[in-house]
Symmetry: C2
Subunit: 392 residues, 2 copies
């Protein structure tokens, strides 16, 4: 068991019509002039943006808006947001959307609260000493950014995708109304469920002695998402299932399911990041396409955890050797992915990669992690290439 810090200051307001509290929450955290930051047109088309601006108007809170946050949100828009906020004397950032809008808002917040180029933080050159407060109205359950300390931004030049984590960036509040996620395309819902589960699985497959209570919480969360992902496949408007997945998304990545572990593995995420850099794939689908190959490559080095996962999460029969049980757990997970129309290899993901592509991705991945990384099994560049090859 390792020492740990736990810090989840985000005030969560969860339930039907939760967005009606947005003005009082902004006032509680001192906002007087707001940037409403969002992604594509769905928050406009759905009427959510209008509802929010009506509430702010009625409360006498001034605001400006900035749309356009795309998946893998761009540094250019962050710069634009910083300039806009300086000009308009914005003191509070309201992200309306999913991880893209939230991550982009966090970056704008760092840029406003610190001198110099905000990219420095993402480029590991220095650390932020503050962040303009961020609030969230969540419309996609996936990244957990609504309670997390992390933000991932992509610099357009060279498509450099980098994450920065700081407690300063944790949102002040998160408004979570499961109804707002009901109109998501099925594919995006399934991608979200995959991402949510992976945030906890990355913390679960470790060599470090996870706490029993952390394992129990992690396994309970994973079983819940697994079950409700299937319910949502058949009935996307199921409020309770939407709520289970939405709340799981926050808990999966706010730190709760990693307390006491060695920091986690995170190699599936790293391998997927390179995939996302080279091809236009959804993050959750990319994770599903890689995970099985990663798991088969590493499970013998982390057998007790894979056995436990098979029994307590995938609920396979406790029979045969530990390796048998672990392998049946991996197979059951891949079956689950298929059941919610997620890919289990690059082909199903729609990616046709040449051997040169695989070599390039493995090299970039290895450089990105400083040579080697992993907890279930430490992977070097050759290992990464082997996993990419196996995922074809």
């Amino acid at each position: 068991m390792f020492d740990f810090n736990y810090f989840t200051p985000t005030k969560v307001v969860f339930g039907k019509n939760a967005e009606s509290h947005v003005a009082e929450l902004i006032k509680e955290f001192g906002g007087t002039k707001i940037l409403i930051h969002y992604g594509g047109g769905s928050v406009v088309r759905s009427g959510l943006l209008k509802r929010v601006t009506d509430i702010l108007d009625a409360a006498g809170i001034g605001y400006v808006t900035l749309g356009g946050a795309v998946p893998n949100p761009h540094l250019g828009l962050v710069y634009e947001g910083i300039e806009l906020c300086k000009k308009e004397k914005v003191d509070f950032l309201l992200a309306v959307g999913g991880g893209s809008a939230i991550d982009s808002a966090k970056a704008i917040g760092y840029g406003l609260a610190n001198e110099g180029d905000v990219w420095d933080f993402y480029d590991y050159k220095r650390t932020a000493e503050g962040c303009v407060p961020v609030g969230v109205i969540l419309t996609i359950a996936a990244t957990g950014s609504e309670m997390s300390d992390s933000s991932v931004i992509t610099k357009e030049e060279g498509l450099v995708k980098r994450g920065y984590s700081s407690d300063y960036g944790r949102p002040k509040f998160a408004i979570m109304n499961p109804e707002l996620t009901m109109t998501l395309p099925d594919y995006q819902t399934a991608c979200g469920c995959t991402d949510i589960m992976m945030h906890t699985m990355e913390r679960y497959f470790t060599q470090g002695g996870n706490m029993e209570i952390t394992d129990a919480l992690a396994e309970g969360l994973l079983r819940t998402v697994k079950k409700n992902a299937v319910i949502l496949r058949d009935n996307p408007k199921d409020y309770d299932a939407r709520a289970e997945v939405m709340w799981a998304g926050s808990l999966a990545h706010n730190g709760l399911t990693g307390c006491g572990n060695d920091g986690g593995d995170w190699m599936t995420h790293k391998l997927e990041h390179e995939l996302g850099g080279l091809y236009d794939v959804a993050h959750g689908a990319g994770l599903a396409a890689i995970w099985g190959s990663w798991a088969r490559y590493v499970f013998k080095n982390c057998l007790p955890r894979f056995k436990r996962f098979a029994l307590n999460v995938m609920e396979v029969e406790n029979a045969g050797s530990d390796e048998d049980i672990a392998l049946r757990g991996i197979e059951a997970m891949e079956d689950f992915y298929r059941s919610i129309n997620m890919p289990t290899n690059l082909r199903e993901l729609g990616v046709t990669a040449t051997e040169d592509d695989l070599v390039l991705m493995a090299h970039k991945c290895a450089v990105g992690v400083g040579g080697e990384m992993g907890s279930a099994r430490v992977l070097n560049e050759q290992d990464m290439l082997n996993i990419y090859r196996a995922s074809m």
Copy 2:
């Protein structure tokens, strides 16, 4: 499923020697002159207080000390603390101890940040509009006050025990070093485990549709404490078991295990409060002594939850009627209490109550809850008397 708010801003620093961070944490939250508030002499005898003051001295942070917080902490000491802090211009309260010191520090904080008599808040006459920040070095895993919004104070005159809850009172940080709990008497350790489990059980036995994820987290937490309470009975110095119980204590009462429910039942706590008012009994032991009688009295009205508890927490065999399974779950819980030397009735608790005593307690309890209360089953004064009688 009910809407919910979730707010757990306390920064947790968990692990060996965690108290070494106390000065930096106090500075982070703006403390310049500190009241160190503690209970009995154990923090003095163990050398913890000296260690803390040495750290503050080295960091140039001024402080005054106030000991004497007793179980069911007294209003008189709260008043004394308020006067002392005003005189000494204290701007940060550091509780070193368990629930008594923390609850008392919260009350001092309310008294300092608000005009008028602090008892008004506990007497439901008005609500606090702030609290001087409180930090915690935890030495007893039990009440969960280190992350909770609640504080229970007893007014000496008439022995009126009242709780007040406000987000303002949530501690800014909680330092949790499991080693600090290793010297607790076995009885107090077992009482703590009982209290921790009950905080989640009160949230679990409801008529309201708990979320699946909340149930999964609650059941995982309960199984973890149940297992580790037995380990600590046999080996009180087991670091990992101390850590499991300590972290469970915070999660059991910070709100996590109640998300989406109807607010919980809480009648076992209410029935025990009257017991604690009339007799000198430890809170955890009092809960154990009452719970079985309460459970047998209400379980038919809340059968699905009791069945689920029996299967998923007590892990009894899934055979026989639902009532059989539920009853075997209650029996298994009582067996667990006995296994850690907790009482399962008033006799074993060491209480010899007359019929008049029972009538008086039932009456006071009914008045205290405004006539009737409960979720698993709504109880009136006669029900309360019946449960007290059954617990003899």
